[in-house]
């Protein structure tokens, strides 16, 4: 393998690992998620009426506070947030469904492709036989 390819490989692998680690460090931890969920539940039940989700996270400073105008991480305002278009992107285990759906889609495409190819090959095999008998 060429030296440049090796260097590129190492760089790509390093980038992949570094990006994952950096992303992990930037995203909220599981304990933060649980804490935020607990806050949300309290707000919904009315157990702590003065402690709304917005109030408890210092007006947009925290990880889970609403950020009006951006709407990416703002949760209390609903799916899209105020002025935002991306919706709620907080990490959650429910996101596994997305992975499953993507895998299913790819699997279905592979299966359909395999079926079509098999049918095509069967047809190709039959054709020379028919030509030979004529």
């Amino acid at each position: 393998m060429k030296l440049i390819t090796r260097i590129l490989l190492i760089l790509a692998a390093g980038l992949l690992v570094a990006a994952t680690l950096f992303g992990l460090s930037q995203s909220p931890t599981m304990s933060q998620l649980i804490e935020a969920k607990a806050h949300e539940d309290h707000g919904e039940r009315g157990a702590l009426p003065e402690q709304t989700v917005e109030g408890s996270h210092e007006e947009g400073e925290g990880n889970f506070a609403s950020r009006p105008g951006r709407g990416m991480r703002g949760r209390p305002e609903g799916e899209s947030g105020e002025g935002g278009g991306h919706g709620n992107w907080e990490p959650s285990l429910a996101g596994f469904t997305n992975v499953g759906v993507t895998l299913l889609k790819i699997g279905a495409i592979i299966a359909i492709f395999a079926l079509v190819t098999r049918l095509w090959k069967m047809r190709q095999r039959k054709q020379p036989a028919a030509g030979g008998s004529a």
């Binding site: 393998m1 390819t5 590129l8 490989l9 760089l11 790509a12 692998a13 980038l15 992949l16 570094a18 990006a19 994952t20 950096f22 992303g23 992990l24 930037q26 995203s27 909220p28 951006r70 990416m72 991480r73 278009g85 991306h86 992107w89 907080e90 990490p91 959650s92 285990l93 429910a94 996101g95 596994f96 997305n98 992975v99 993507t102 895998l103 889609k105 790819i106 699997g107 279905a108 495409i109 592979i110 492709f113 395999a114």
Partner: protein
């Protein structure tokens, strides 16, 4: 011996890189699972991995490009067209992703005004990529299965040899 093993090693590296890229793609397509930060940084790294993937297959790309209107087989042509589409789709995802970045770009001090057009294009390109990637994997399915089988067969054989010291048999040449 070494000359025989080199292509096998290269194929193994290809398989491992492709596997890692596929896993990274799966995670990147689920920002609800990973969160936005991982989604953005991982996707940028996936772009780098994509360039490496292209460089590893550069000879094939050049060869088929030269013979595209000549002696290339239909499978190679289909593969080439599909790979070109996949490249365009990935490039679109990366460019539009940068345009709507909320974590990665602000981190390096760049902030771009949000536009829903880029978001729409980003989603459209992502959906298209899933379909094209499915076809790409389907076209390489036999390579994928055979290489994985060889890889496992090699590791099993190695494990067997470590127990009993045997000379290289003719099976080696089938690799």
């Amino acid at each position: 011996m070494e000359t025989k093993r080199t292509p096998v090693r290269r194929t193994t590296i290809n398989l491992l890189i492709d596997g890692a890229m596929f896993l990274a793609f799966l995670v990147a397509t689920a920002p609800h699972l990973s969160g936005l930060a991982i989604h953005e940084w991982l996707s940028l790294a996936l772009g780098a991995a994509l360039i490496t993937h292209l460089l590893l297959h550069w000879n094939w790309i050049v060869q088929v490009a030269r013979r595209f209107f000549g002696k290339a087989s239909w499978t190679a042509r289909l593969n080439y067209l599909l790979n070109s589409l996949l490249f365009i789709a990935f490039a679109t995802i990366i460019v539009t992703g940068i345009m709507i970045s909320e974590v990665a770009l602000p981190f390096i001090g760049i902030s771009i005004a949000r536009d829903d057009f880029w978001l729409g294009l980003h989603r459209m390109a992502s959906d298209a990529t899933i379909v094209i990637l499915g076809l790409h994997i389907a076209l390489h399915w036999s390579w994928l299965v055979n290489t994985t089988r060889r890889l496992f067969a090699r590791s099993t054989r190695k494990a067997g040899r470590s127990g009993a010291t045997q000379p290289a048999t003719s099976q080696e040449s089938t690799l």
